[in-house]
């Protein structure tokens, strides 16, 4: 657990984290469930409320900070990770959360997202993915599926979508996970994991937008289909799924792809064990590829490794310089270099 000044004797309830603002999402929006989980989980984290900051960009999800009774900053489109980076450089002890969406994080703010992950800034990024632009009323987003019909793609989207975990892994992210808005137990577990992770953490949350892209994740939620459609990633476990846990993803060593099959069947592919802390991102990357028909969608932690944290490393350089040479003073700053004196004549 990262060293955030704690709540001490104070005990919080969900109410302590609920602001007095009316929540203004559409009825049935997946954002409600996520907000509720956050408010419920926060008291358990033992972090002093005044040391928690929620930062967002622009979009439906980005209204989030207004509803949390913590410090909050609703900023501009796509820039939340950069604002959070600046905040962490100033105040490394704070617990800083970024709330963003697929358009905010992956389109206009793509550059900031990948660099915050690459640097391993200690921020927790909740990426609400509803595969559509909600606040601007229904255009396709960088996670929309090929063929998805939206207001700005009446004949269907032609470009392939981003897989956020794949992008995060490609950015050397140290914690990458995925959850589903309505799977609240699992969602809460994932949020807790990211809170405890020292460094940058990205959690993609599949979030239903009943207004512009209703049912986008229905097969993953539907009781009849979900066990065949979801692969629950478990550290140290094989990639087994299915109603009877009769299905398995294995690695085809010749083609270097994952292939679905039945447990026990010989198909030339090899069984692999999921390791969150694997040194190489290769298997995680295979898992994070955009879900294809006939493949289950992996949910859970793709990767969790420890690496030095950006702001701490940065500040440590300054601390080391001070330890070696003493804290800089005005006098030596100004009276530096080659100087000469002019006396009054």
């Amino acid at each position: 657990m990262s060293a955030v000044p704690g709540a001490g004797e104070r005990r919080y309830t969900k109410k302590d984290f609920t602001s007095d603002q009316d929540v203004r999402w559409c009825p049935g929006c997946g954002d409600y469930a996520i907000l509720a989980q956050l408010q419920k989980l926060m008291p358990d984290l033992g972090i002093a409320k005044e040391n928690i900051v929620f930062i967002s960009g622009i979009g439906c999800s980005s209204r989030f900070p207004y509803y949390m009774d913590t410090y909050g900053f609703h900023t501009i489109h796509g820039r939340a990770p950069a604002i959070a980076t600046g905040l962490k450089l100033a105040r490394p002890e704070l617990s800083v959360w970024v709330v963003t969406g697929d358009g905010d994080a992956l389109s206009i703010g793509g550059n900031h997202l990948i660099h915050a992950l690459r640097r391993n800034v200690d921020v927790k990024i909740l990426l609400f993915n509803n595969k559509v632009y909600g606040l601007t009323k229904g255009q396709y987003s960088p996670t929309s599926d090929v063929g998805q019909r939206t207001k700005s793609s009446p004949s269907g989207v032609v470009s392939p979508p981003f897989s956020p975990p794949a992008l995060a892994l490609g950015s050397s992210a140290t914690f990458v996970a995925r959850a589903v808005d309505t799977e609240v137990q699992h969602l809460q577990q994932m949020i807790r994991r990211m809170a405890e992770h020292p460094g940058a953490a990205l959690l993609e949350i599949y979030q239903n937008c009943p207004v512009f892209n209703d049912g986008a994740f229905a097969p993953l939620k539907d009781r009849d289909t979900k066990q065949d459609e979801v692969l629950m990633l478990e550290d140290g476990e094989k990639l087994v799924y299915g109603r009877e846990r009769e299905k398995i993803l294995k690695l085809d060593p010749d083609r270097l792809v994952l292939v679905p099959g039945r447990v026990g069947d010989e198909n030339g592919a090899i069984e692999i064990v999921h390791r969150e802390d694997a040194e190489s991102t290769m298997l995680a990357a295979l898992l994070s590829e955009h879900p294809r028909p006939g493949f289950p969608t992996p949910i859970g932690v793709f990767r969790s490794v420890e690496r030095p944290v950006f702001e701490r490393e940065t500040l440590a350089q300054g601390e080391a310089a001070v330890a070696a040479g003493g804290a800089g003073q005005l006098e030596e700053l100004i009276y530096a270099g080659d100087r000469w004196r002019v006396s009054s004549s």
């Binding site: 602001s19 005044e50 900053f73 900023t75 450089l89 005005l330 009276y335």
Partner: protein, 626 residues
Amino acid sequence: MSSTGPGANSGKIEEVESIVIRFAGDSGDGMQLTGTELTRAVALSGNDIATFPDFPAEIRAPAGTTYGVSGFQLQFSSSEIFTPGDAAGVLITMNPAALRTNLSTLEPGGLLIVDSGAFKKRNLQLSGYEVSPLEDDSLSGYQLIPVDMTRAVTVALKGSGLSPGDVQRCRNFFALGLVFWLYGRDEKREVESIRAKFRARPEVAEANVKAFKAGHAYGETTEAFKSRYHVPAADLEPGEYRNVTGNEALATGLVAAALLADRRMVYASYPITPASDILHYLAAHQRYPVTTFQAEDEIAAVTAAIGASFGGAIGVTGTSGPGFALKQEGVGLAVMAELPLVLIDVQRGGPSTGLPTKPEQGDLLQAIFGRNSESPVAVIAPARPSECFDMAIEAVRLATQHMCPVVLLSDNTLANGAEPWRLPEISDLAPIEPGFRTDAETFAPYLRDPDTLARPWAPPGTPGFEHRIGGLEKQDVTGDVSYDPANHGHMNAMRAAKIAKIADRLPPVDVYGDAEGDLLLVGFGGTYGALRQAAQSLRGEGHRVGHAQLRYLNPLQSDIDEVLRRYRRVLIPELNPGQLRMLLRARTLLDLEGLNKVDGTPFMVREVVEAARRLIGPAAAKELRA
């Protein structure tokens, strides 16, 4: 010329008031280093100085080409000077391309030293000479002194073990040695300086020292020079001095501001010419409470600075015009969130990528108006390189005490130009008190200070102050999101009034020269020297002239209207088509005149003097004298 002995020159030393010297060579010839070394040496011996590094955007354009030529002009003087000089009295060129591109900067009859060894066929072709100018009489209007530096360093560095290419790279120190001899400068101190500079590569250090000494010795033995020259120390204000460029002074001012505010500063920046040196300087000052962050882009740089300010640090970002354009949405957020932000814009030639290494002042309107809707910020501009120190502190003071973005407009002439800086007494530097709010009972995010209209700065970490801010319009006092028309009108007025109120604390406009009369020269930023020197010479002619270089551009100082009305005519020279003039005309409804130049070069003193004369006429001067 008479020789006083075998192999020696006349030994005559002439005393002169000032010298303008210009070095020009390939970008790889080390002209900037040579110029900087000479600058340091003459500054240390007490001359007043002003420099103008004039280099191309390419790091090393193909050798021998005209577009790869890099120049460095220095004026040093025994009296107070304000510019690097309109024309050079001495030009040192390292190859034909440098001669071709720089000859126009040499005054008629000036001393022209060329490395004749570089005037080979290929170099001549590359620079478009059909015949060597050393061999026809095209240079007869100058005192031409050809010196085969190419050969001289080859001889001097025989057996040094350096490659022929590295040997030739020492030519600049040969030239420097010759100049040191010509102006009687301290040779020993320079040798030490070269050794210190190249400490990491002793063999190169020694080669440069040898080349330098060979250049000096060449001066001793040649009979080509009629005389040596001595520029006595200047009569500067008593005190301790160091030589400083604008970028250095600005960065030093930022560090000082962090110390004076007893707050950490986060300087977030993306590399861009000509602002990057500020980042380098700050990154090298790790013992001070300044954290540097090289962001992934300009937008990240400004927003990270805002994030730092939200956290209670002093958020600063630095850039140049194109980067400023990218940052503008972020600046708007700081306006709305009413957080301190210092944005440094070291202006360069534009539009678009423009002329990255050339001076221009085209960002004034971008600074004041370059955002969506009504988005007022404070804008200030230092006038001299050394003043960048004071204005950096002023920017931090204004931003933290008025809770607003402050744009500090520097420019290429200030940033790279150098001058002696009279060092301030530490005790004269007033602390900066940001005034954080600590009383949870009365806290409200947009409850304003009645004097400044600033909202409280309440960074995370204070129990009971949990609140949300953001880019959406806020209800005054509570800070809740508000779509109420009356509130929006009120908040727009508040944001404007908050900036306007800064004028209450500003000093009166600083006017040099006559307090009223024929003409007032008004400018901002790095044109200071040309305007000041012009005002001085116009006054010498008998005109009654004042000069005001405005340090505060938004808000303007309260007495500006009155000051402008005290003169018969007002001339506003700017390196843009008239941005300041437009603002001042709109404010005062006076018919102010402009002198405008947008060609990537600084004003010559004579350009300003001539424009002024055209405006006020020579007759006026006669009348006044009568």
